[in-house]
């Protein structure tokens, strides 16, 4: 038991200090005929003067004396009465001291409990902090992974577009190549006829008629004209492709979006599927600072979507492309009267990887990519659609200084 414990046995010396004794002693001494000493439990004098023969009155708080009153003058009865009174004072003081000591201990206990709790909370906080760091790291890793995959899919979409383009182009180029090649073969046969004429010059004009060279000459010229026009077509396709991909231009430049639209129309419309018409209504536009290669991709992809929507509807239709400018910027609309989209499809249209086409037929990145490109140009893209009636995609590009 330490000196601070509330449940120790208290003694007079610690309950009443000198000041208190100086206050209580004199009146009590007067009651005891002027002769009083106050002693601690071990007989040590605390107040007054004690004669060696003085009578002692024990002051008991619990079981044993906590102190004594001593007097030689006072009668035993009076000393006993004074002792009872003094004990009552001591008891009141002891109760007060015990209660406050206990209170202090309880508060300390509660404080210790709080400190323990605090330590526990700190530990748990540290645990959660560590957990949250781990989670953050894992989220970062997964985001990086997702970004890598998304990049791959964007790439795949690009390749798919390129593949589709390449297939169309191959068809378009093969066609003139076929007849130019065939024409040149025929032309070689015609030249053979002239070789034969050289051997039959002796026959004169009869040989010319005989070899039907009037027709050969006339048809030869036609053949060459056909070849020339075929090659012209190939040259135009190559030129379109070049300007479409912008292989030989810087990425950001001031461009006329009408030119981009025309390129996209000419690339998408080669070949034009049966029952699909492309109409343009282009109004003069101010030049826009942009990446024409990317915008071409957007326009191509939107026009292709429109064409597919018409094919999906299973009836003839048209994709109408119009452009207009006002003070705030450039508005471009690509509208088709194809199958249209349901509200549910419309809601998810811009979601990456969302596609209504069968697996492998579409990556679901066309509109998502288009939107990213438009956003990169500080523009807006919106879709209006009525199922069975068609879809209109509106693009807006704010004027650039």
């Amino acid at each position: 038991m330490s000196a601070a414990d509330f449940d120790r046995e208290w003694h007079l010396g610690e309950l009443f200090d000198a000041t208190m004794l100086a206050r209580v002693g004199p009146p009590l001494a007067e009651l005891l005929d002027g002769d009083l000493a106050i002693l601690d439990r071990n007989g040590e004098l605390l107040w007054g003067l004690a004669a060696p023969d003085a009578r002692r009155e024990a002051l008991v708080l619990e079981l044993e004396p906590a102190g004594f009153l001593a007097s030689s003058a006072a009668s035993q009865v009076r000393l006993h009465a004074a002792g009872r009174m003094f004990t009552a004072l001591l008891r009141a003081e002891a109760r007060y001291r015990m209660a406050s000591a206990l209170h202090l201990e309880a508060v300390t206990q509660d404080f210790e409990t709080l400190k323990l709790e605090h330590v526990r909370l700190l530990a748990s906080e540290a645990r959660y902090r560590k957990l949250s760091e781990e989670l953050e790291a894992r989220v970062k890793a997964q985001v990086a992974d997702l970004e890598a995959r998304q990049q791959m899919l964007y790439q795949a979409e690009k390749f798919a577009s390129v593949g589709q383009l390449a297939a169309g182009m191959a068809h378009e180029i093969n066609n003139p190549l076929g007849f130019v090649s065939s024409n040149l073969g025929t032309f070689k046969l015609y030249l053979d006829k002239f070789t034969a004429l050289r051997d039959r010059l002796a026959e004169g004009e009869a040989a010319w008629h005989n070899l039907d060279l009037d027709f050969v000459l006339e048809d030869g010229v036609d053949l060459l004209a056909d070849c020339s026009s075929g090659l012209g077509r190939i040259a135009r396709i190559v030129a379109d492709l070049k300007s479409f991909s912008h292989v030989d231009r810087p990425p950001e430049e001031r461009a006329d979006l009408n030119a981009c639209l025309q390129h996209a129309v000419s690339v998408a419309g080669n070949p034009l599927p049966a029952g699909v018409a492309l109409r343009t209504e282009l109004h003069p536009l101010p030049p826009l600072s942009c990446n024409p290669g990317h915008l071409n991709q957007v326009f191509f992809s939107l026009i292709r979507n429109g064409m597919q929507a018409i094919q999906d509807a299973g009836r003839p239709g048209a994709v109408c492309i119009d452009s207009a400018a006002d003070a705030s910027g450039i508005t471009i609309r690509i509208a088709d009267n194809g199958v249209g989209m349901s509200p549910a499809q419309l809601e998810r249209a811009f979601e990456p990887f969302y596609t209504t086409r069968s697996v492998g037929a579409g990556t679901g990145l066309g509109l998502s990519t288009a939107r990213n490109i438009v956003l990169a140009h500080h523009g807006r893209i919106a879709i209006d659609s009525t199922p069975g009636a068609g879809t209109t995609v509106s693009l807006f590009f704010p004027n650039t200084p």
Binding site: D7, L63, R91, A99, L102, E105, A106, T108
Partner: protein, 218 residues
């Protein structure tokens, strides 16, 4: 460990239990029933609506043949949940415990929680709960809603502590509970303190001295 000096030995005993299970009543009845050589007044610290806020204290004592003064100081803890800090402080340095449970079947949860808090608090104030002398008293046996004795005994069968049954208000079972604790206390400390060897006190003499009976108690 009890407080010891050359002339005296002091044990601290604590009555623990849920609110209003009858801890203070146990002390008041013991004061009336016991007549040891030395018996102090019950010191009741501040109460509010008859509920203990701090503690009650009853000092008892007798002198061994060797002249050693053996003192017991019986404390009660405040039962109300809010005073847990005070409860821990009162429980500190205890040499023995009486757990006063309320027999009312509606109080079973409170009993359980109080017992658990006692075990927890013992650990917190550094008492060896596994070995400290402990007696469990089921008080208020006279309640119509009291859990039957057989059921209580069955439930506590596996527990190592003596079980007592009491109606503290009528003074029934109060002394026998105290006696059970005295015996556990003696057995726990007699050897280390040389009670029999040095001071000539047997277990029965120890019990008799504290209860204030001459001869062997029943």
């Amino acid at each position: 460990m009890p407080d010891q000096d050359a002339t005296s030995l002091s044990f601290k005993l604590v009555y623990y239990g849920p609110a209003q299970s009858g801890k203070t009543t146990n002390l008041l009845r013991l004061h009336d029933l016991l007549s040891p050589e030395l018996k102090g007044e019950v010191m009741t610290m501040e109460t509010k609506d008859d509920r203990t806020l701090f503690f009650d204290l009853l000092p008892l004592g007798f002198r061994a043949p060797s002249g050693l003064l053996i003192k017991l100081r019986l404390f009660t803890v405040p039962g109300q949940v809010a005073h847990d800090g005070t409860r821990k402080a009162v429980l500190s340095r205890a040499d023995g415990i009486v757990f006063v449970a309320d027999s009312d079947s509606a109080q079973e949860t409170n009993n359980g929680e109080a017992f658990q808090s006692m075990a927890d608090n013992c650990h917190r104030v550094g008492l060896d709960f596994e070995h400290i002398p402990l007696v469990v008293q089921f008080n208020k046996r006279d309640l119509p809603s009291a859990v039957p004795e057989a059921e209580v005994r069955e439930r506590w069968e596996a527990a190592p502590w003596p079980l007592c049954f009491a109606v503290a208000l009528r003074g029934e079972g109060v002394a026998s509970t105290f006696e059970a604790l005295l015996r556990a206390l003696y057995r726990h400390h007699a050897e280390a303190l040389g009670l029999a060897r040095e001071h000539g006190i047997s277990e029965n003499a120890f019990v008799a001295g504290m209860l204030g009976q001459t001869g062997t108690p029943a």
